[in-house]
Amino acid sequence: MPPSTSSDLTLSVNGEKYALTVDHRTTLLDALRERLDLTGTKKGCDQGQCGACTVLVDGRRKVACLHLAVAAEGREITTIEGVAEGERLHPVQQAFLDLDGFQCGYCTPGQICSAIAVIEEHAAGWPSAVTGDVRPEAGPPPLTPEEIRERMSGNLCRCGAYVSIVQAVARAAQETNGAAA
């Protein structure tokens, strides 16, 4: 008997449970956009090459375009629609707004979700490709503009808003845990 090509499942997104039947080919990205009407998560390349679809899965940033929806069952997904506290913007959102960390806005939800994770990854002591000494004894690197650029490099912005995005991430990191250098 050929295997079933669809599944009934429950997706947990921004604290809400959604029961749906998905074609196994459906990515988490398409499930969010086409099935749950959560269109804040953007489709820029659909190949993991731009970062526009970045969401948080169990607290980790991931690209939703390469994540099958069926494989997301049992995981807690946070999208751009779920990062503010009610009317109060997340510090990263507020910094992007104030410092004009976007132009067309299409890569913005992905940039913001990625930045939220970058601040957490840094706080957890993760090194990056530009960290001079990765040994744990060296301690966590200061979150310099160079560190922010490297850690945010998986999010392309064709408008070229990188300069203000880096400033926004630095400000939000400073506000969140005093981390920006």
């Binding site: 050929p2 295997p3 079933s4 090509t5 599944s7 074609d23 196994h24 080919r25 990515t27 659909d46 190949q47 993991g48 970062g51 970045t54 899965v57 980790r60 940033r61 991931k62 690209v63 390469l66 994540h67 099958l68 069926v70 494989a71 990625s114 994770a117 970058v118 990854e121 957890a124 002591g125 993760w126 090194p127 990056s128 490709a129 960290t131 990765v134 040994r135 744990p136 004894e137 650029r149 490297e150 850690r151 945010m152 490099s153 998986g154 999010n155 392309l156």
Partner: protein, 330 residues
């Protein structure tokens, strides 16, 4: 993308049993390469067995003081692991040099080793490609190949292996363990990849239906003095055009132990054993580093547009070993 079945496995033997040697089925790890290839039509599996829930997500101490890395450890967790950073810093650097934060959170160690080449002819199903369709030809040789292989390639395929992680693992004598229906097995990482020859579509020495369960790093003090340098056409978020993983132990100004591996120059992470032999026991200076690189690169067979890689690799070897030697002298 064709329709496919999906099953989730919760233990290793269950995963192997679910796959059942089915040539139309694939193990699904982080999906960062497989799902992309399914979208482009390069892979058309009828069934996926999700292995991300397998209890293989730990980095553990081995009896001889090495480390065993589970196959489903994500790239991010591997790079951030304190013992990897302390004992094998080049491995952390290599992992962090690859892809993006998002992709490293998804990608797994097992999947990283089995990822496919990013040769643009391989990923375009409308193009001939001996690796994808045996016998259809290799357009890269007469066409675009400025980022293709200069070592170990053949007239049938000049694609490179895209892994950064694998380069560091190759330098550190990693061994790959796997599970089959007939039981477990193990082989050196440098033997995981088959020579290209006339059969570029046959990529690994794994038995059919095998599941990679982990990678073991033997204890080696030299690895603590190691470095990974990657050159690419963007400052980040791009595949290498050349990379070096190196570890160096200098005693009394002479090379006591050295490990060298190259990335983006061959169909597999390229362990530079010839260069290591030339260097071992020699004075640790730039002239000998260059001579060692040259010895390794005499085997290079560049095409019209990728000859720069020979120069690049030579320069990288000298630069990285010189830095390591300087640090050792301090």
């Amino acid at each position: 993308m064709r329709e496919f079945g999906y099953q989730r496995a919760y233990d290793v033997s269950g995963a192997v049993a679910l796959l059942d040697g089915d040539r139309e089925a694939r193990f699904l790890g982080g999906g960062t390469n497989l799902v992309d290839l399914m979208k482009t039509g390069v892979e058309r599996p009828a069934r996926l067995v999700d292995v991300t829930e397998l209890p293989l997500n730990r980095v553990e101490e081995t009896a001889d003081g090495g480390l065993r890395i589970g196959a489903t450890v994500t790239n991010s967790d591997l790079a951030a692991h304190p013992e990897i950073r302390r004992r094998y810093p080049a491995l952390t650097q290599a992992v962090l040099a690859g892809a993006s934060g998002q992709l490293r959170n998804m990608a797994t160690v097992g999947g990283n080793l089995l990822q496919r080449t990013r040769c643009g002819y391989f990923t375009d199903v409308n193009s001939p490609c001996n690796k994808r369709v045996p016998g259809s030809g290799c357009p890269a040789i007469e066409g675009e190949h400025h980022n293709h292989a200069v070592l170990g390639a053949s007239d049938h395929c000049v694609a490179t292996h895209p892994s950064d992680m694998g380069v560091a693992l190759a330098a550190f004598d990693a061994r790959v363990s796997y599970e089959t229906a007939a039981g477990p097995g193990e082989l050196p990482l440098t033997d995981l990849y088959l020579p290209v020859g006339e059969t570029p579509h046959l990529e690994t020495a794994l038995p059919p239906g095998a599941l990679i369960t982990g990678v073991t790093l033997p204890a080696t003090a030299t690895a603590a003095h190691s470095r990974y340098r990657k050159v690419r056409e963007r400052a980040s978020y791009a595949f290498a055009i050349g990379s070096v993983a190196a570890a160096l132990d200098v005693r009394d100004g002479h090379v006591h132990d050295v490990r060298l591996a190259f990335g983006a120059v061959a169909s597999r992470p390229w362990r530079a054993r010839t260069a290591e032999r030339v260097l071992t026991g020699a004075p640790a200076d730039a002239g000998n580093f260059a001579a060692a690189a040259d010895a390794e690169l005499t085997a290079a067979r560049p095409l019209p547009h990728n000859g720069y890689k020979v120069t690049l690799m030579r320069n990288l070897v000298v630069a990285v070993l010189s830095e390591l030697a300087e640090e050792a002298a301090r």
